[in-house]
């Protein structure tokens, strides 16, 4: 069993999933961490002392039964929910793809990318080459002028993913990001993740696809409000 409190990720730099090795400077500071996080809704305790960390170039999985509190833990990490107890820390330059369908229904895909890109990059323009590469890889070219309400489930999911990665964030948090993807797109998705990880991004991903364990450096299982590695 791995010690989840260890500042050094156990699988950092492992060649699993074909990801690049981690540099020593990148190991010391986690991109996001939770220590002893508790959260209750009234008498219902959803999280009961969770410890978790994600480092640069690491792909961390978070699994658990439906309703076990995975999305809640992620929202605590990102600051959307206030934990009842415990500490969280997270790199502010995070790219986040939530589970729910939150995109504005009357905006076109290109308008979404323009707005989210302008927010994340601040004064720097979005890297056009990276943007075009992602759009081409996810086969979104023909949908750029489509309003969100007209997209199919899979394409909607691609746009959600695009808004999370458009600014090439150092930390990527994905909540069941492959819902609605066909098999080809599923493989393309992992290629994109590998590319980002190769550039130094740390990834935290909620996923039920346990047959893909090999793609993760570490997997946390959330049971009865507690995390097991």
């Amino acid at each position: 069993m791995t010690d989840p409190h260890s500042p050094i990720p156990p699988n950092a730099g492992s060649p699993r999933g074909g990801f690049a090795a981690v540099g020593s400077a990148e190991r010391t500071e986690p991109l996001c961490s939770a220590v002893g996080v508790q959260l209750s809704y009234g008498k219902l305790r959803v999280l009961d002392g969770c410890d978790l960390s994600v480092f640069s170039r690491q792909v961390v999985g978070l699994t658990g039964e439906n309703g076990s509190g995975k999305s809640t833990l992620v929202k605590c990490l990102l600051g959307f929910l206030r934990p009842t107890a415990g500490q969280v820390r997270c790199d502010p330059r995070v790219g986040y793809c939530p589970q729910e369908n939150y995109l504005h229904r009357s905006y076109a895909v290109a308008e979404h990318l323009e707005l989210i890109g302008s927010l994340n990059r601040g004064d720097e323009p979005v890297d056009a080459a990276w943007l075009n590469h992602c759009v081409a890889t996810l086969k979104l070219e023909r949908y750029l002028s489509y309003p969100i309400r007209k997209l199919s489930g899979g394409t909607y999911q691609k746009v959600k993913l695009m808004t999370a990665i458009v600014h090439r964030p150092p930390l990527l948090v994905l909540d069941e990001p492959t819902d609605g993807f066909d098999w080809t797109m599923y493989l393309v998705f992992w290629d994109l993740i590998a590319e980002l990880v190769g550039r130094g991004t740390g990834v935290l991903m909620i996923s039920h696809l346990l047959h893909d364990r090999d793609r993760f450096d570490r997997i946390y299982d959330l049971r009865d409000g507690r995390l097991c590695v």
Binding site: Y41, S71, T72, K75, L78, G79, F80, L81, R82, Y96, P98, E100, N101, Y102, L103, H104, R105, S106, Y107, E111, E114, L115, I116, S118, L119, N120, G122, D123, P147
Partner: protein, 266 residues
């Protein structure tokens, strides 16, 4: 983010907000249908018989002799402007609000969001007030058309801010819409009716309602040549109060943690 970056993002949010209203087919239909139906009914049913009506001028009240049609046209225009402004604000501050909470998380300043959204909203209210004043001037003579425009603008700002507040606080669209219809119906479309107000047993209660002062600005400017500083001042106070409350409520919802369950689409 630098000042130029903020300006660019602010302009983008403003542009998208305006497009959002333009892309709302029901909103565009209502913009034409509601005034057409109400004004059409007045033209069809109201007589040219004269009625003496009270107009509020602060310490004193003036009695003005007006035809039923004149009164009906001005009063209905005010009520319709208020309702439509509240409806558009509801669209801007309720629909897809979770998306903007997400944008705030991604770096959008809530102040910038409110300012850009409100600028788009003001553009719509100014247009609505201008169209209403112009349309009204075609069917009935107006003594002070620019002040009538200012009165309509104040009604739309006050009711728009109210619609925005309801939209931000309400979780679902229908109850929010019903709340807007309720207040617009009770206040602007009933108690502010000059015929009702002139004969009211307890008119002081009507003075406390949000549409009272702007409606008196419109009535006094439409039918008299006198300035009405008292009504104008009262309407300005209401406008500042409701807009301030809207800004506070938007900030509170944008910055605060998500409610239980923590979903962006609720």
């Amino acid at each position: 983010m630098s000042e130029s970056g903020r300006r660019r993002t602010g302009w983008l949010v403003f542009r998208l907000s305006t497009l959002e209203l333009w892309r709302n087919p029901l909103g565009l239909v209502l913009l034409v249908v509601i005034p057409a139906v109400f004004i059409g009914m007045i033209l069809w049913t109201a007589s040219e018989n004269s009625i003496p009506l009270k107009v509020f001028f602060g310490d004193e009240t003036m009695l003005v002799l007006l035809t039923q049609r004149q009164v009906g046209l001005v009063f209905v225009s005010a009520a319709v402007s208020g309702f439509l402004a509240a409806y558009y604000a509801l669209i801007l501050f309720h629909k897809d609000f979770g998306y903007f909470r997400f944008c705030v998380f991604m770096g959008l300043s809530p102040t910038l969001f409110t300012a850009a959204r409100f600028a788009a909203f003001l553009g719509v209210t100014a247009l609505l007030a201008a169209v209403t004043t112009f349309g009204l001037s075609r069917v009935t003579p107006l003594e002070q058309p620019f002040t009538v425009f200012a009165g309509f603008l104040l009604i739309t700002v006050i009711y728009g801010a109210y619609g925005g507040i309801v939209g931000v606080l309400s979780r679902s669209f229908m109850p929010a819409l019903l709340l807007i219809v309720l207040l617009a119906d009770l206040d602007a479309a009933w108690l502010q009716n000059p015929v009702y107000y002139s004969a009211a047993q307890e008119s002081q209660v009507i003075h406390w309602l949000p549409a009272f002062y702007p409606c008196q600005v419109v009535f006094s400017a439409a039918f008299t040549a006198r300035d009405n500083a008292a009504a104008f001042g009262g309407a300005l106070v209401w406008a500042v109060m409701t807009v301030t409350l809207l800004v506070v409520v938007v900030h509170f919802r944008m910055r605060g943690p998500l409610s239980a369950g923590g979903r962006f689409d609720q």
